[in-house]
């Protein structure tokens, strides 16, 4: 079939091929080359991210392979003495009693609050003690909790004495901490870091404190909560 070119356009017939090619090239440029180049940039950045992720995950595998499960179980047991999953009131009271006994302070009454308050990411409850002791005993008692494996802090006190007596009586308020088990224990893509020097120092400190302080827990063992928290 022969295409009839209108007489007025006869002189332009030689430019038809270049025009069609130009239009074709421009269309290829707009609809293929530019989107593909853009796609290549995206692919490149995705590959960079993926490579970084592979490095991070490989590092994570290396870190996880270095973990001695038995040793970490012991560490976790110690951490759960310092900061148990639940209130574990008997354990905290045993430590208060031990602190009082080792500082010659007499506890004549105590009250454990039911309410829990959130402090710095953990939960806490109060233990109110009625105590009798000398100022020196009281000071030693107040500072004794720095050496207790369980995280217990002095929250308040109201102490009085008479002029001729060296014995003070009154109330002492302590705050005891606990923190429920986290709902998730890490995610696959989350990088993990091993224990830092500061972590090891804290672990060692708590380990030493656990050894010198008798622990009584609701579970009857040194480990409150589940034996294996991941089950």
């Amino acid at each position: 079939m022969k295409i009839e070119i209108p007489p007025g356009l006869e002189k332009y017939k030689f430019f038809l091929f270049p025009i069609i090619v130009t239009v074709f090239s421009v269309l290829i440029l707009i609809f293929v080359i530019i989107p593909q180049i853009y796609n290549l940039f995206n692919l490149s950045s995705k590959m960079d991210e993926t490579n970084k992720k592979i490095t991070s995950l490989t590092q994570k595998i290396n870190n996880l392979n270095q973990i001695d499960r038995d040793l970490y179980k012991v560490y976790i047991d110690q951490m759960l003495i310092a900061l148990p999953f639940d209130k574990d009131i008997p354990q905290s009271l045993s430590q208060v009693q031990f602190a009082a006994a080792s500082t010659n302070l007499q506890i004549v009454g105590l009250d454990v609050a039911n309410e829990s308050t959130a402090i710095n990411g953990a939960l806490s409850y109060s233990i109110q003690l009625e105590v009798i002791g000398t100022l020196s005993d009281l000071k030693r008692f107040f500072n004794r909790f720095d050496e207790a494996p369980r995280v217990i802090r002095l929250a308040g006190y109201e102490l009085t004495t008479s002029k001729d007596s060296s014995v003070y009586s009154g109330s002492v308020k302590l705050t005891t901490f606990f923190s429920p088990q986290p709902t998730t224990l890490g995610a696959i893509d989350t990088p993990v870091e091993g224990l830092s020097a500061a972590d090891i120092t804290l672990l060692t400190k708590i380990e030493q404190l656990t050894e010198i302080t008798p622990i009584i827990s609701v579970t009857g063992s040194t480990t409150p909560g589940k034996t294996n928290p991941f089950e």
Partner: protein
């Protein structure tokens, strides 16, 4: 002897020849452009395909690594829990405790001749104390200790005397000490 060249062709033919050369040149350029466009497109598409395949390989590698991490889930749980507890414990023991600091400071600043009759504080930087001094000198010593930055280690910001009672053989003072 110089050669003489004479063009005997009609001028119209020369014009037609020139036009043909021009069209041929345009066509050559067009073909080159078309070739370039096709080559670039093919290269870009090919490169894109190769990169896509590489990305797929990397993704399958990630899936493989993730499976390996899944096998180490217990270790990850132990480490996560341990780090979480350590972080919480560290945060709690690093919290300032003005109640304890105040008790330690005030009791260390009581000079001879002054009896501390009562002391109270409730999670606050304010400590209420009642003292009994057997002389004005003892009371002065106490106040000096409380307000002097050398003795109070810069921890006391305010001392407010609430009440002074002159007793038979002593001076009783109620005061509130505010710590930093």
């Amino acid at each position: 002897m110089d050669k003489i060249s004479i063009n005997l062709l009609p001028p119209e033919l020369a014009q037609i020849q020139k036009r043909k050369e021009y069209i041929s040149f345009i066509n050559k350029i067009t073909i080159v452009c078309l070739s370039i466009a096709i080559t670039v497109t093919a290269s870009v598409l090919g490169y894109s395909l190769v990169k896509n395949q590489e990305l797929e390989k990397l993704n399958s590698k990630i899936a493989n690594i993730q499976n390996q991490i899944n096998d180490l889930k217990d270790q990850e749980g132990y480490l996560f829990l341990l780090k979480q507890r350590l972080s919480l414990i560290n945060g709690l023991i690093s919290l300032p405790n003005p109640t304890l600091d105040g008790a330690n400071l005030i009791t260390s600043l009581i000079p001879a001749g002054v009896s501390l009759l009562s002391i109270n504080s409730e999670r606050s930087v304010q400590i209420g104390i009642t003292i009994e001094a057997n002389s004005t000198n003892s009371l002065r010593n106490l106040l000096n200790n409380l307000i002097d930055t050398n003795t109070n280690r810069g921890k006391v910001t305010k001392v407010r005397i609430e009440n002074i009672n002159k007793l038979k053989d002593a001076i009783r003072v109620d005061m509130i000490v505010t710590l930093k």
